[in-house]
Symmetry: C2
Subunit: 427 residues, 2 copies
């Protein structure tokens, strides 16, 4: 096993060098071929997914998790179309992001180049397998994926389609490695291969994130939980706030950009909370509130301190009434996960205060947290939503899988010439 992980990673790195050299047209043709291979393989894919679903049901997995795992024809078509959308996005590789003419006479360019080899360890959601592979290839990288055990059959079926497209294009299929069977020891080895792997993205719950951050020597960008907040200020348009609340909580509770906590300014709590609670309960949402919320909605259960820090990923919402915007900000700073926060307000000064005071990756004024998504934010798709304050923060598209470097072109410029030596504090 020991040699296998390293050998596989080396194969991926060699294959990545091929991908890095591909012109834009060839990469996009490859992504289209991958989309077609997925559609052509729908029957196999759904059969593989059915085995995963059965296994998950046997294990008694929650409805939210089953929903994340489930594929049908329209979801497969959605996955294929996401690859076509990625193909349609601009190629980040080779982009010159800045061009400076030095006063010494040489030119300086900042040029985007691929990262190299990207590893991702993730849980459930088979579409992530295709999105991650496609984004890495678009950005000229090799990719090593280690999916969750629940989705193993689905992920393998997807990877077979995508690797087939690589082979058909005359490329090494090792540019996409699905190492689903990696043991804990082998994963440890993978995340310490800092001479081969350039980035590791753990995408999942607390246990996975801690396992990776505590053990990785490869740079890590976390896609950690989304404890997303909606704060309804006294200045809010309450109809709009209710729309944002319902959309944020009920349209896909298993997504990380769904709302987990509602904070309501006390001055509009009487007007808003009972109405909001009725609308949510009607849609099957379980509410957990503080004292002040339960005074307004007596049917609400009591929230514990832990509830406010929990990503339910289900039809469940924690609720609190706050004194003012400062209390809302303090609550979010204390319990939040730096993912996505929303304020409903018609007061621009209040909105700006909320935006500036919070350090979350995505901060929104009067829109649904469900827009916190690479596709919605113009990235085409996303490999994840970074909650690490480095390199990328928030939804990560293909550009986030590249790095800018410096290219200088001159005609013999030197810093000091033959006679002189350096002085002062220069580097």
């Amino acid at each position: 096993m020991t040699t296998t992980v390293r050998e596989n990673a080396l194969k991926c790195r060699d294959a990545a060098a091929q991908i890095a050299e591909l012109p834009e047209d060839a990469k996009n043709a490859l992504l289209h071929a991958m989309a077609e291979a997925l559609e052509a393989g729908t029957t196999d894919l759904l059969a593989a997914n059915a085995r995963d679903m059965q296994g998950a049901r046997d294990k008694g997995i929650s409805e939210a998790m089953l929903d994340r795992l489930a594929l049908d024809e329209s979801r497969v078509a959605g996955i294929a179309n996401a690859l076509r959308e990625i193909a349609a996005m601009p190629d980040p590789v080779g982009q010159v992001t800045r061009r400076i003419q030095s006063d010494k006479g040489f030119s300086i360019e900042r040029v985007r180049v691929p990262l190299g080899v990207v590893a991702m360890i993730y849980e459930a959601r088979p579409n992530v397998t295709a999105d991650a592979a496609a984004l890495c290839i678009k950005a000229g990288n090799g990719v090593i994926l280690r999916g969750g055990s629940e989705a193993v059959n689905s992920n393998q079926a997807i990877a077979r389609c995508l690797r087939g497209a690589l082979r058909d294009a005359g490329l090494s299929e090792h540019a996409l490695m699905l190492l689903d069977d990696l043991s804990r020891e082998a994963m440890l080895e993978l995340m310490q291969l800092s001479d081969i792997v350039d980035l590791i993205i753990p995408r999942g719950g607390e246990g996975l994130i801690r396992f990776v951050t505590e053990n990785a020597r490869v740079p890590v960008i976390k896609h950690y939980k989304g404890v997303c907040h909606l704060y309804v200020d006294a200045s809010a348009d309450l109809d709009a706030a209710l729309d944002i609340l319902i959309d944020g909580k009920t349209t896909r509770p298993s997504a990380c950009n769904s709302l987990e906590t509602l904070l309501v300014h006390r001055d509009i709590a009487d007007a808003f909370l009972p109405r909001a609670a009725a609308a949510l309960v009607e849609r099957g949402v379980e509410l957990l509130g503080d004292e002040a919320s339960r005074q307004r909605v007596p049917t609400m259960a009591a929230a514990t301190d832990d509830d406010y820090a929990t990503e339910f990923l289900a039809l469940k919402l924690s609720v609190a009434v706050v004194e003012d915007i400062d209390a809302a900000i303090a609550h979010i700073r204390h319990y939040g996960s730096d993912h996505t926060e929303v304020i409903a307000t018609r007061d621009e000064a209040i909105a700006n205060r909320f935006v500036h005071a919070l350090r979350s990756a995505v901060v929104m004024v009067n829109t649904s947290s469900r827009f916190s998504d690479g596709g919605e934010l113009g990235l085409g798709a996303e490999i994840g939503i970074s909650t690490t304050r480095l390199h990328a923060y928030g939804p990560m598209g293909a550009e986030s899988l590249t790095i800018e470097r410096f290219v200088l072109r001159g005609n013999g410029q030197v810093r000091h010439g033959r006679g002189s030596a350096a002085a002062g504090s220069e580097a």
Copy 2:
């Protein structure tokens, strides 16, 4: 001790929140005040430096290291002026790097915000203390510095001046922490404070880099060694190549952007090597070569395999004759450190091949490696040169100490509305 590191880091984080809020003018005024405080403190600073120099001499430290450590009036003026140059650079904080109007009617902005708290562990070179502090503050961050034991008196004197300027501006001096006395255990604690510290930059030799990368839970950007290469192709202008070689090796051998290895195409080895060797030896450079080099320059000592991977930081150069550009690229890939590589050539196709084939942070055509420096590349100054392929790669200025996040402003937009539920593979 255990509580002290965490407590200090928390103080720095609180102070950083003040710095993050400072308007551009206030930050620049602060940087000017810091420059003046350094100049006003020159006498104390030189006295402190003299103690460090004495201690270093007593320990028998190399000439290259003594040169890195030494301050005089002109170097202090240089440090102060570097702060003024940083003040004159554009403020990265608040910059809107992209603005998109969503087809759903809300606006999306990518906005630069400070990282938070930046820690740096570094060796020697007291000017780094001032540069790092100033760049972090320019970018709205707090900074925790742990300098080398050789420079402890100089660093403390510099930090006293800079913290005085913070106090005089009515700010908390904790925005700049110099924790010079941190034990190994305390450093371990610092680099695991992932809830407080946002980035750690180790800048130094192999031992330090390994210590940090093996133990940090905070994200790491390495400033590792610069094994910089000059490849002189058969197509080179040999006069220009000689200028680049002399500048790169002799003007400041203790700098990481100095050349460590010369690779010469065999077709011009007879014409170039004896001439280059004479010019270098005349300037005190010791040469270590392979068989083919020593045939051309018999006085040259034999290079070991290790020599080609060594950052000498001294008047010492390893030399090899190569078959062609492919052999040069293979050599650099094998022995290089991803820092800076130079090709001397008049053939554009050869130049492009070199640029594309190498993954180093800075790749140059016909210019001196000594330009691989934040100041020279338009960044004003640098906190280090990243050899980590993430976030920043190559010289890092103030912008590299910020991160882009997403701000959305709408008027009630939702993704699905009240009735519908999500479909397909969406997040």
